[in-house]
């Protein structure tokens, strides 16, 4: 069997299942509508995120000290606790050290010039390093905040040493 040369005429052949021009217009129209809808959806998502941020701000969630195992007491946070620059203090330089392996963090504390001020450096399991200045006079005695409690312990430790 030999090879036959197929010759076509000048006209474009009509293939089955090919969209006609009117159908293509319909497709573009639907696409335009979808794009519009998508834009609105994005705006809605952005709105939800802003709301989440507001909730976070109110509750104190995600703020400083919200690392593993550290509960944030948002009201005390503003009064007694302030974020400061990390000094990279060693254990030897610290007045008090707390190693919380099961909670995933370490705390180092050093009493600053005035006795009520404690510099606290926190290192978290994920590698974050944060530092706080705690004014222990403003910390409520029954505080459940790990960093505030640690600052109070640091001051108490110094007082005990002075008594001995």
């Amino acid at each position: 069997m030999g090879i036959q040369e197929v010759k076509r005429g000048g006209a474009v052949p009509e293939y089955p299942n090919t969209r006609k021009p009117e159908q293509a217009e319909g497709f573009y129209e639907r696409l335009r509508q979808n794009m519009k809808y998508r834009g609105r959806e994005k705006e809605d998502i952005a709105g939800t995120e802003t709301q989440t941020e507001k909730v976070k701000e109110k509750s104190g969630m995600g703020r400083i000290g919200a690392g593993p195992g550290i509960r944030v007491n948002s009201t005390a946070l503003t009064e007694a606790l302030q974020t400061v620059e990390v000094k990279h203090m060693s254990y030897e330089e610290s007045d008090n050290v707390q190693i919380a392996v099961t909670e995933g963090y370490t705390l180092k504390g050093k009493i600053q010039g005035t006795e009520a001020q404690v510099y606290v450096e926190a290192k978290y399991e994920d590698g974050r390093l944060e530092a706080y200045q705690v004014d222990t006079k403003k910390v409520p005695e029954e505080t459940e905040h790990a960093i505030e409690r640690f600052a109070l312990e640091t001051i108490e430790g110094l007082e005990k040493e002075e008594v001995q």
Partner: protein
């Protein structure tokens, strides 16, 4: 030479001893491992770039020596004079007061791939970046080992399993 030796001993002996002790669990073997690390450092002719490099080199070598001793046929055929885990916390001579001895005991019971990152991170205050350099691992690996090691410590403390 003697001056260099004195400097090494003064600067790193305590820290290296603690790391060796956390692996060997007895004083004599830990001291042997540290001495061997110092000897290798003195014999090694590779240039040391800076102090951090020197420290990392010494820690890495000490850990390798400990692991070599633990794997050696001689060590596996003999019964080491293991001090109990309770006395281990007293023998480790940390430069600060450890309030929770039970946790340190649990850390010392961990398998080696969890024990060294956890010990260096929490008890020697190393950063994840530094530990990755010392142990020749990726930072992500160290983070995973810290997380999994912490879970293992919890299990040891709650279930009391070795």
């Amino acid at each position: 030479m003697e001056q260099r030796w004195n400097y090494l001993v003064e600067e790193y002996q305590s820290m290296l001893y603690r790391i060796a002790f956390s692996n060997m669990k007895n004083r004599a073997d830990a001291e042997d491992a540290v001495q061997e690390a110092f000897l290798r450092y003195m014999k090694d002719e590779k240039p040391i770039q800076n102090k951090e490099h020197e420290k990392a080199w010494l820690i890495r070598t000490t850990i390798h020596i400990c692991l070599d001793i633990l794997k050696s046929g001689w060590y596996q055929r003999t019964v080491p004079w293991n001090e109990s885990f309770a006395s281990a916390t007293q023998n480790i001579y940390l430069p600060y007061q450890v309030k929770d001895d039970r946790t340190l005991e649990a850390v010392l019971r961990l398998p080696v791939h969890y024990r060294n990152p956890i010990y260096l991170f929490y008890y020697e205050d190393y950063t994840i970046h530094e530990i990755a350099g010392v142990l020749n691992e990726k930072e992500a690996t160290i983070k995973t080992r810290l997380r999994r090691g912490r879970e293992e410590v919890k299990k040891i403390l709650t279930e009391g399993r070795p």
